[in-house]
């Protein structure tokens, strides 16, 4: 067990740039934006960390999106992601460069990585933060996360250990816009990982286009009540120029791709309009959508908990209500056109 650390030796805010096949996960840019705010508040630098085989172009993009410095570690051992080599390299970097704060995306890859690296670095790691602030007098990171179904917010601190680490689910913060005029430095770091750090190997990887529902202004979501028939959901979403989303239950059933899952273990969305059809309103689902502007619930059970968290509710069969709603909106649109 590592001993006491001198917290004054640690400075700068780091963001782990998650990338797959040389393409950055959007959550990394979301964290760069938040990291910029935190670094400015502390008067420190924002450093992006990029690991992979062919990733130097991501360094430029990270600078355009707010990084002062980008650490690039290029080696075939880092493609695709594996916790052993990534964890070992990260521990080395932390030991050598002593970051004060490290932000990591709360995707499956990010959580796999964060949980692995927090142990050897003896970092305080807070999961699924929805607010990150710097405490005025201490300059400590205040990592806030919803707990007990969003009824409460816990503030987690890491007072005596460094780095202070946090994961954030995709969609919680807005992504940084690139500014081609921004300047920063790129530092190439030699890979410090050997075969002894590789405990596993990827046999196959099947990744399609990654759908992004986090920026949608309208979302029509279906749950177990759709019984797998998403047609009426898609029609309404199409008419409103929105995205289709779903509960975890519907994803588990294989009715819809996982990238469209909303909730605690899925995406966080904040559209202007969220229509929930055949969704009961479990706390884990609400956590991903209760910042939506207007929520409409359609459920055939008048006692479904979703009605308590909706602005407007209709009790009825979604297979009747949704098509009628789509028709009524289409009529309205044509009438006013």
């Amino acid at each position: 067990m590592p001993g006491e650390v001198d917290t004054d030796e640690y400075e700068d805010v780091w963001v782990f740039i998650e990338q797959h096949e040389s393409e950055a996960a959007k959550v990394s840019w979301e964290l760069l934006q938040k990291g910029r705010e935190l670094a400015d508040e502390k008067g420190e630098r924002l450093v992006a960390l990029v690991m992979g085989e062919d990733v130097s172009h991501l360094a430029e993009e990270a600078i355009e999106r707010g990084a002062d410095e980008v650490l690039v570690v290029e080696d075939p051992i880092f493609e695709p992601y594996l916790p052993g080599p990534y964890g070992e390299q990260f521990s080395e970097l932390v030991e050598e460069r002593k970051p004060d704060i490290v932000l990591i995306g709360g995707s499956h890859t990010g959580r796999d990585f964060a949980g692995r690296v927090a142990v050897p670095t003896y970092a305080g790691l807070t999961a699924d933060c929805t607010e990150l602030e710097i405490e005025a007098d201490t300059h400590l990171l205040l990592a806030k996360r919803p707990t007990f179904g969003g009824d409460a917010m816990a503030t987690i601190k890491c007072v005596e250990h460094r780095p202070q680490m946090a994961t954030v689910r995709p969609g919680v913060f807005d992504a940084a816009e690139p500014d081609p005029d921004r300047e920063g430095t790129t530092t190439e770091v030699e890979a410090a990982v050997g075969e002894e750090n590789v405990h596993s190997r990827v046999l196959e990887r099947v990744v399609g286009d990654i759908t992004d529902i986090t920026d949608a202004e309208v979302i029509v979501a279906g749950g177990f009540g759709t019984e797998g028939e998403f047609g009426p959901i898609e029609e309404l979403a199409d008419l409103l120029g929105g995205e289709v989303a779903a509960t975890r239950e519907a994803v588990e059933e294989g009715w819809i791709e996982a990238a469209r899952q909303v909730g605690q273990t899925g995406k966080t969305v904040k559209p202007d309009l969220y229509v929930a059809a055949g969704i009961s309103g479990a706390i884990q689902h609400l956590e991903g959508m209760n910042d939506s502007q207007t929520i409409v619930a359609i459920n055939d059970d008048p006692n479904a908990p979703i009605f308590d968290d909706a602005d407007y509710g209709i009790v009825g069969d979604l297979f009747e209500v949704l098509p009628a709603l789509t028709d009524a909106i289409r009529d309205e649109q044509e009438g006013t056109a």
Binding site: D112, R116, D151
Partner: protein, 261 residues
């Protein structure tokens, strides 16, 4: 090389979510009257462990860290078919965050000469999902998280997993010993057989380990935890209209007047 596997399954006791309430006067969480239950995702972990044993042979040992009454979740696991249960209980463990929690579980997996450690995706109370990779890191073992399918390859001392990743999935072969976190809902957990259930509740007694039994008394508990809960606020609930409408025309009117469509 083929041999039977020592399978360890980590099970956590959590307050029944439906029973947790906020005290309206103090704004604090009222967990004390909540009934303690087995973390729901851990049913998938127990099921996975039992199926691995059926495929490869060996034993399944359930481990929990918690207060003495956490014994109940071990009974649940033994009732489902686990061969034995270990209770990690000690005042010294109190206030542990994920760093020492995963250390205690890692040390017991080592003590049990574990080949495979199976965990749930995350707990339903603090839901960090950090404990499984933490266990792997403490022991420098391989890790497989967000697992949807598992295929044992005892002839290679390997476990092959299909992992759910952003936009798709990947197949990964990990060398033993390995820590696995299975996706919530990845299998249909079995129901406990009546005889086994009665045995677990009447005859089964877990072995207890203290922090010093595991030689980690200096590295657990509140003092060894890098994080601390610095405060708990009731979240401002989003105000909702909660208006029931009778027809889609009425709904369209409402949405139009709000500018939502």
């Amino acid at each position: 090389m083929s041999r039977e596997w020592n399978i360890v399954v980590c099970v956590k006791q959590v307050p029944d979510a439906d029973d947790v309430s906020i005290d309206p006067d103090t704004g604090t969480l009222n967990r004390s009257d909540a009934e303690a239950v087995l973390n729901k995702p851990d049913y998938n972990a127990v099921e996975t462990a039992l199926r691995l044993k059926e495929a490869v042979g060996g034993t399944v040992t359930a481990v929990t860290m918690g207060p003495p009454f956490a014994k109940a979740v071990l009974e649940a696991a033994v009732g489902l078919g686990a061969d034995d249960g270990i209770l990690l209980t000690d005042r010294a463990f109190g206030g542990s965050d994920t760093w020492p929690t995963s250390l205690a579980l890692a040390a017991s997996a080592e003590e049990l000469d574990g080949d495979v450690v199976i965990c749930g995706e995350e707990s339903t109370d603090s839901s960090t999902g950090q404990v499984p990779p933490g266990i792997a890191a403490h022991n420098d073992w391989s890790q497989l998280t967000y697992v949807e399918e598992l295929e044992p390859r005892p002839e290679n001392d390997e476990l092959v997993a299909t992992r759910d990743i952003e936009g798709g999935h990947e197949e990964v072969a990990a060398s033993l010993p390995v820590v696995v976190a299975v996706g919530f809902g990845m299998n249909e957990p079995r129901v406990a057989g009546l005889h086994r259930k009665i045995f677990s509740e009447t005859e089964f007694e877990p072995e207890e380990y203290s922090a010093s039994d595991l030689g980690i008394e200096e590295s657990v508990g509140l003092a060894a935890s890098p994080t601390s809960v610095g405060g708990m606020d009731t979240a401002d609930p989003v105000e909702r209209e909660r208006e029931m409408v009778d027809s889609v025309d009425e709904l369209v009117d409402k949405l139009q007047s709000e500018g939502a469509i």
